[in-house]
């Protein structure tokens, strides 16, 4: 199984993703030269050969003009009539990469430039779905897009089309699509409740998102009984729904030494919070202490252990643990931070897979 951590490409190319969104809004659309109609085919060819930067740069300029937008619209209509699925897939990936770059290049691209890319994605997507809604490429693209949306922060959600309901409609029994959807609803609950670690408190309006997440994650687990992430997330969602027994039954096995350290670390953290909720302080502390050291950046486990020790009056131990939490390595990510970004951690592999599909 892929290690639970930040995608390397994401670090290199899209590191500024959510943070730089702050600057997007107030930058006017750049005045750029219009591209000739024939240029679009050249851009697709360049992208197919692997020149992502050049192709994306060109397509941004193209879609920033009225003429360029009309060019794209006409081209998409023509390819749809010709049932040219391969070209539309290539175009969808090209504009998707442009839009993804837009998430992280807010100031440079400008809001209108970014929205142009999102509109182009939508235009090509609609045409492609009409021709091949359930193709392997479409599945991969849905997963890629959802990982971007979840990783980029929620603001883009309010600005972009929502493809997830379509993904669920077209791939209703796909374990990974269901997992991505479960992540989304877990996330929506977070936004609704204002706190990703709100403790169980009975029903609330935002709990409907949790119940939906639990349903989707159960379906995901059923569709692929070997996958561990749906169980991890289901365990946490059940805890948040106050189903402590259900949560423990999902998490116990994941907390075993045989499991990949990142997932095991999270399972132990989540088990610990459940045990804290049961007021089993000793067992909770054991869970947190077991999590410590499993991964390079174990800040959350150390903070959790320190807080519990502090609550128990063990001030010296709490101070020592916090001291260690304050001096963890500067590189790497705590799996909890990764977990909070939903399916973003799958971005790299999905981008690579989608690129390979259109370049074959």
């Amino acid at each position: 199984m892929t290690r639970f951590g930040w995608p390397a490409i994401a670090r290199a190319r899209y590191r500024a993703c959510a943070a730089s969104l702050l600057a997007i809004c107030l930058v006017p659309a750049a005045s750029v030269a219009q591209e000739p109609l024939s240029r679009y085919a050249d851009l697709l060819a360049a992208y197919k050969k692997g020149d992502v930067e050049g192709a994306v740069s060109g397509v941004k300029r193209l879609t920033s003009s009225v003429e360029g937008t009309k060019t794209l619209t006409d081209w998409v209509a023509d390819r749809r009539r010709s049932k040219d699925v391969a070209s539309l897939e290539l175009a969808l990936m090209l504009h998707t990469e442009g839009a993804i770059t837009g998430f992280g290049e807010g100031a440079a691209l400008g809001l209108s430039g970014w929205l142009n890319q999102l509109a182009a994605v939508r235009r090509v997507f609609v045409a492609l779905r009409a021709l091949a809604p359930r193709s392997p490429f479409m599945r991969t693209w849905h997963l890629l897009w959802e990982s971007v949306v979840q990783g980029a922060g929620l603001n883009p959600i309010s600005m972009t089309a929502d493809y997830l309901p379509i993904a669920l409609e077209d791939f209703p029994n796909d374990a990974e699509v269901l997992l991505a959807a479960g992540c989304r609803y877990e996330w929506l609950w977070w936004i609704g409740s204002g706190n990703p670690r709100r403790l169980p408190s009975g029903s609330s309006s935002s709990d409907k998102h949790l119940r939906t997440a639990a349903d989707l994650l159960r379906r995901s687990r059923k569709a692929d009984s070997t996958a561990l992430e749906p169980r991890l997330r289901l365990g946490r969602v059940l805890f948040l729904l106050d189903d402590l027994d259900g949560a423990e039954s999902e998490l116990r096995e994941l907390a075993s030494p045989a499991v990949e350290p990142g997932l095991r670390y999270l399972a132990l953290l989540f088990l610990g919070e459940g045990l804290e909720h049961r007021r089993d302080t000793a067992a909770a502390l054991t869970a947190y202490r077991t999590a410590v050291g499993l991964v390079d950046v174990d800040q959350s486990a150390r903070v959790a252990a320190a807080q519990l020790a502090h609550r128990e009056g063990l001030r010296t131990e709490a101070a020592e643990e916090i001291g260690r939490a304050l001096s963890i390595p500067a590189s790497g990510s705590d799996p909890w931070w990764v977990y909070l970004r939903g399916q973003w951690w799958r971005f790299e592999e999905r981008l690579t897979a989608a690129q390979a599909m259109v370049r074959r």
């Binding site: 959510a18 997007i24 949306v149 929620l154 929502d162 903070v303 931070w337």
Partner: protein, 322 residues
């Protein structure tokens, strides 16, 4: 009976003696509780008050204030600073400028510690009186990343050292938590178990991204409208609650350019606080103690922590009775 108190600084007081370093354990009958209070009248600190000017109740039972001091104890300044991605460029320069001014304003006996956070917590130095070191460390900080303000606030509390000094936590953040493990509730409970006084400082910014682009006629549905960034407002609520529960005050800087003045205002206000001491009478030792402090026959508002925990050795966690 030997007992341990948690939640407020405790000082062993001999009759008529000055304050001395507290210890974790002491014998009932010589225990004293120290309460740090701010008195203001129409927003301005009131100075020159004596112990007879205060009325103090511990769990509703009137207590005799045995000592009032001001500026007699050294200051332990815990700087807990948000260095997430929102504090870059000019804001970071302004923050450093404010911190340098703050360091310069410390008295010779004062000490300061430096903790920074994005999603990651980092201790640059524990409490030190070495101003040159502090200035160097401040100069070297960089920013970037998400925000773990709740975890950082707890780290500051846990680092509080057991000595006779008064501990001020200057907690600078935009308050929007995105990556903490701890909840605000647990950290507030932790705050009630210490005597740290928290002065959060935040900068009000306009949310330029709070706009929705809707395309209702689009064949593809538009995603549900949600607010900007997946951060938690709990962070902002924490800042306010932190100040309220610990007897501090939340300062809003009007902009990053005013941080220097804001930091110095915090320090000046803290120096005009009073430290009231009393030996609890007529109350049980354990559990949550609610403290009420009022002025006797004078106009003004008193701000003090809401209470403290009394814990027996080996005792488990207790829920605040609030």
């Amino acid at each position: 009976m030997i007992r341990t108190w948690c939640g407020l600084s405790l000082v062993a007081c001999a009759a008529g003696a000055t304050l001395v370093a507290q210890t974790a354990r002491f014998t009932t009958g010589v225990a004293a509780v120290r309460v740090d209070v701010l008195v203001t009248d129409r927003g301005r600190p009131v100075t020159g008050l004596a112990r007879t000017d205060f009325e103090l109740r511990d769990n509703g039972v009137a207590q005799a204030v045995t000592d009032v001091s001001s500026e007699t104890l050294p200051l332990n300044l815990l700087c807990v600073l948000d260095l997430s991605g929102s504090v870059t460029g000019v804001p970071l320069a302004n923050l450093k400028d404010g911190l340098r001014a703050l360091i310069d304003a410390l008295a010779p006996a004062d000490r300061a510690a430096l903790v920074t956070f994005s999603q990651r917590l980092q201790l640059h130095t524990r409490l030190t009186g070495d101003k040159a070191l502090l200035r160097t460390l401040v100069q070297g900080v960089t920013s970037g990343g998400s925000t773990s303000v709740i975890d950082a606030a707890f780290a500051g509390l846990a680092l509080r050292e057991a000595d006779e000094g008064r501990t001020l936590m200057l907690l600078f953040s935009d308050g929007r938590d995105t990556t903490s493990w701890l909840t605000a509730r647990t950290v507030l409970e932790a705050a009630r178990r210490t005597d740290v006084i928290v002065y959060p400082v935040t900068v009000l910014v306009t949310n330029v991204m709070n706009m929705i682009v809707s395309r209702p006629n689009d064949p593809v549905s538009v995603m549900p409208s949600v607010r900007f960034l997946p951060g938690s407002d709990e962070g902002l609520r924490l800042l306010d609650a932190f100040a309220d529960d610990t007897g501090g005050r939340l300062f809003y800087a009007e902009g990053q350019g005013t941080l220097r003045k804001t930091f110095l205002d915090v320090l000046a206000e803290f120096r005009q606080r009073y430290v009231l001491s009393y030996t609890p009478r007529g109350v049980t030792s354990d559990g949550w103690h609610t403290i009420e402090v009022k002025l006797r026959g004078r106009r003004g508002q008193v701000k003090a922590r809401r209470g403290y925990f009394g814990v027996t050795p080996g005792g488990g966690a207790r829920t605040p009775q609030k």
